[in-house]
């Protein structure tokens, strides 16, 4: 009994630093931010806050900038998440074959995802620049008319290309998943005369669904929150610059409201709505997961 109690005490002692920081600097600010979204806080009136009820949330519904930005953000997420999931999985499938120099390819595919936003945006500016930019040189070589990559019509595509460049970050997790699929399943399938494509469709993909699911959920959470890349991609690219309209995403709008216009309370309301949208979407994906995610529960029991 004494030993058991000692372990209980040790457990609470060991988790206490994390738990205290979580309560004071995680949970409390979150609830505090929720409270502020019901006040008229604008940055300098902390001592005489006024409760304004749902006023900020009502403003949001009539703020066409916010509504449009939300639409653009959802649209970008709908493109970015499936494409980056497919790229990540495709590259991992290539690397999972017996190949020479696997480590080099692994590094090459993974590298872009660890390049800091600061550096990657600088690089992509060279790719996109309209006067003799690299992408335009390639188009010219292929006899396709040049494109104004940072202009209104193509800015969203440019942002998407830059985001997909980092999709190799999923390669490591996907590879770990692929390596976890038992070899004998493939051998049995080969004996039964299954073609490689059939093995992929009937064995690999079903067994990878938990990892695909993980990537999709994290992808949605991450995509909806994008705000640095569009700002940095803007010519000038300082932290408070306003990106061109197609790239004026929802969290960028929240930042503009807070830091450029000192509308702190409104900004908090914007962020809380974003938070709820993320929760609802994540929940939806969780709900649908029973139809397409395959878990080996009966074996793990």
């Amino acid at each position: 009994m004494k030993e058991k109690n000692r372990r209980i005490v040790a457990f609470y002692l060991m988790i206490s630093p994390w738990f205290l920081v979580f309560l004071v600097f995680g949970l409390f600010p979150m609830l505090y931010g929720l409270y502020l979204s019901f006040t008229n806080y604008y940055g300098f009136n902390m001592n005489k806050l006024k409760w304004v009820g749902l006023h900020q949330y009502k403003t949001l519904l009539t703020d066409s900038d916010a509504v449009h930005a939300m639409g653009r953000t959802l649209y970008l997420t709908a493109l970015n998440v499936p494409l980056s999931t497919i790229i990540g999985l495709g590259l991992a499938l290539l690397l999972n074959r017996r190949i020479r120099g696997a480590g080099i390819y692994r590094t090459v595919f993974y590298l872009p995802s660890i390049v800091p936003v600061v550096s990657s945006v600088l690089m992509w500016k060279f790719m996109f620049s309209s006067s003799n930019g690299i992408l335009n040189s390639i188009l010219e070589f292929l006899h396709i008319p040049a494109v104004n990559w940072m202009g209104y019509d193509y800015a969203r595509l440019s942002l998407l290309i830059m985001l997909l460049w980092g999709a190799g970050g999923g390669v490591l997790v996907n590879l770990a998943g692929l390596k976890g699929i038992p070899r004998d399943l493939y051998e049995a399938a080969a004996i039964d005369g299954a073609a490689p494509f059939q093995s992929l469709r009937r064995i690999t993909l079903p067994l990878m669904t938990p990892i695909i699911f993980f990537n999709v959920v994290l992808g949605i959470i991450g995509s909806l929150q994008i705000y640095l890349q569009p700002i940095m991609l803007t010519p000038g690219g300082r932290l408070m610059d306003r990106p061109i309209d197609p790239n004026y995403l929802y969290v960028v709008h929240a930042f503009q409201q807070i830091f450029s216009f000192q509308r702190f309370a409104y900004g908090m309301a914007l962020l809380w709505v974003m938070f709820i949208v993320i929760l609802v979407l994540a929940l939806l994906v969780f709900r649908t997961s029973k139809y397409w995610v395959y878990y080996e529960t009966e074996q793990e029991g």
Partner: protein, 277 residues
Amino acid sequence: MPTTGSSRIGSFVLYVVLVACSIVFLLPLYLALVNSLENWYAVPTILPEVFKWDNYKFATQMLDFWHYFGNSLILCGISVFTSTFVSGLVGYAFARLQAPGRSALFMIVLSTMMLPGIVTQIPQYILFYKFGLINTYLPWIIGGLGGNAFFIFLYRQFFATIPKELEEAARIDGCSIFRTYWNMFIPLSLPVVATVSIFNFQGTWSDFITPFFFLKQVKYPLATALTTINYTEGGSTQIIQQVSVAAGVIFMIPILITFFIGQRFIVDGIVTTGVKG
């Protein structure tokens, strides 16, 4: 392995695809290098025309570069040291110690991984401001003491694979719970410790938004300095892209070094923990 005709064509196609993908992924990096050596205000090029290595010298001279570089090292040092240690302790508790409320608390750890950080960032700023912690490194020390949900999860998965008998033997020999963790679990888990340290370093090194909130310019790390200060000449406002990119290349070097040293560890760590899920 005997190779039939069709599989030889198959592997040829495989390598063509791999090399093509590699070129696409490396192209921006290559272009950054080439253009960082170009003349000032030159239009971007694909093939190197000149090799103006001086751009790298200017990148470190036109800003207080090494000062900001030093600030980055301080922040990374704090974060790697505290967060790696605390996350390990918490991960150990969740993996090996039974206590009431454990699974509920672990659900909280997992859910903090899902919450958008941005929802807490601004109230956090107000809080730190009220406590007088703005423009100090204390937010990083506090953050480090809180560990990191992803690292806690990673440690927990790894610690869960270590045999119970080892732990019991240590207990019989009179080892305290903390010493069992420190003298046995940590040495057995060096790949995970390395993985967490590297992720920690990379995350802190490239984070420029948190310092932008919590610090003033003099304490900015390099990442924040490079996004808020322009490389310009004289009174002109035109940015010298070639020097900016050279600075960006230098900025990446520490990240690349840690990645190359650690990539073996990272892959091993994730594969081992991932499979046990």
